[in-house]
């Protein structure tokens, strides 16, 4: 790989990880404020444009069940990044998609979540997905 390209990859990877750290960090704070147990974890990702890296993720213990925050990467078809939010073990899922510099929330059918991305939306998603049976 040419040196300039490797440097570009490194800087865009750093930017992406910083972007992820900000949004995942925010979710960790919201979950802790709600009194939930939060375990910060790293998710290994391998992408053509950025190579291998470790992305920040979360495992949250809500009063009902476990809830995971798992980044999938930045090289995504039709988006600039994707983070999956899912309940475990039911695997009900919502999706955070980065488009035009904004995080958009979709349900598991890729339909827009009724509210915009915010603390309230995050808590609502965690509660809704973990309560589904």
């Amino acid at each position: 790989m040419p040196v300039a390209s490797a440097k570009n990859n490194k800087s865009s990877r750093a930017e992406w990880i910083a972007e992820l750290s900000a949004v995942v960090g925010e979710m960790a704070s919201w979950a802790r404020e709600a009194g939930w147990l939060v375990h910060e974890r790293t998710v290994p990702i391998d992408e053509e444009s950025m190579g291998k890296y470790k992305a920040p993720g979360l495992q949250i213990k809500t009063p009902i069940d476990h809830f995971f925050v798992e980044p999938l990467g930045r090289d995504i078809c039709g988006a600039e990044g994707r983070i999956d939010l899912y309940a475990w073990p039911s695997m009900y899922r919502a999706v955070l998609i980065r488009r035009g510099g904004k995080w958009l929330v979709r349900d598991d059918n890729y339909k827009a979540w009724p509210t915009r991305w915010s603390r309230k939306t995050f808590l609502d998603i965690a509660q809704t997905l973990t309560s589904k049976r």
């Binding site: 992408e47 990467g73 090289d75 995504i76 078809c77 994707r82 890729y110």
Partner: protein
């Protein structure tokens, strides 16, 4: 259709392959000590047929598995398009679904590699980079993971 049913369809093909492989290996071993286990009617089977069958089994099931996968993609695409679909190339279909389901590039690329391998098998291409069936099911399942739970 439920996403779980789609996973089960591919798992079903995998189990058929595993069963066929087990059965042929068993008969092949048995006929080494007793060639009379092979039938004479309605068709006469020779040990060489068993060997050829075993050699091509994975290829046969790769094609079967990909055709089940393709059927799932077409079914979902028809639902997305409310039945108004023309005959779309599988390559295009994978691209369009990847965009609609916001699928990781790496998973899309790996799925295309399976499609290309299937095409090479269909056209009897030589010097192909084989993808083992165990890897094929893994790649196709990873693509299906992005589907909604029901459609």
């Amino acid at each position: 259709v439920k996403r779980q049913a789609a996973f089960s369809m591919l798992a079903g093909v995998w189990m058929e392959y595993s069963s066929a492989k087990f059965a042929i290996e068993r008969v092949e071993l048995e006929c080494r000590s007793d060639p009379t286990v092979l039938p004479l009617k309605p068709v006469r089977i020779y040990p060489s047929h068993l060997k050829a069958c075993l050699r091509n089994l994975e290829i046969t099931y790769t094609q079967r598995m990909f055709s089940e996968f393709e059927a799932i993609l077409r079914q979902y695409w028809a639902v997305l398009k409310r039945g108004k679909t023309r005959r779309t190339l599988t390559e295009t279909l994978i691209h369009r679904l990847s965009a609609a389901l916001v699928i990781s590039d790496i998973i899309r690329v790996q799925t295309h590699a399976v499609r290309e391998y299937r095409n090479q098998l269909t056209h009897h291409a030589r010097n192909v980079n084989a993808i083992p069936l165990s890897e094929t099911i893994g790649r196709l399942n990873r693509f299906l993971k992005f589907f909604p739970p029901q459609w």
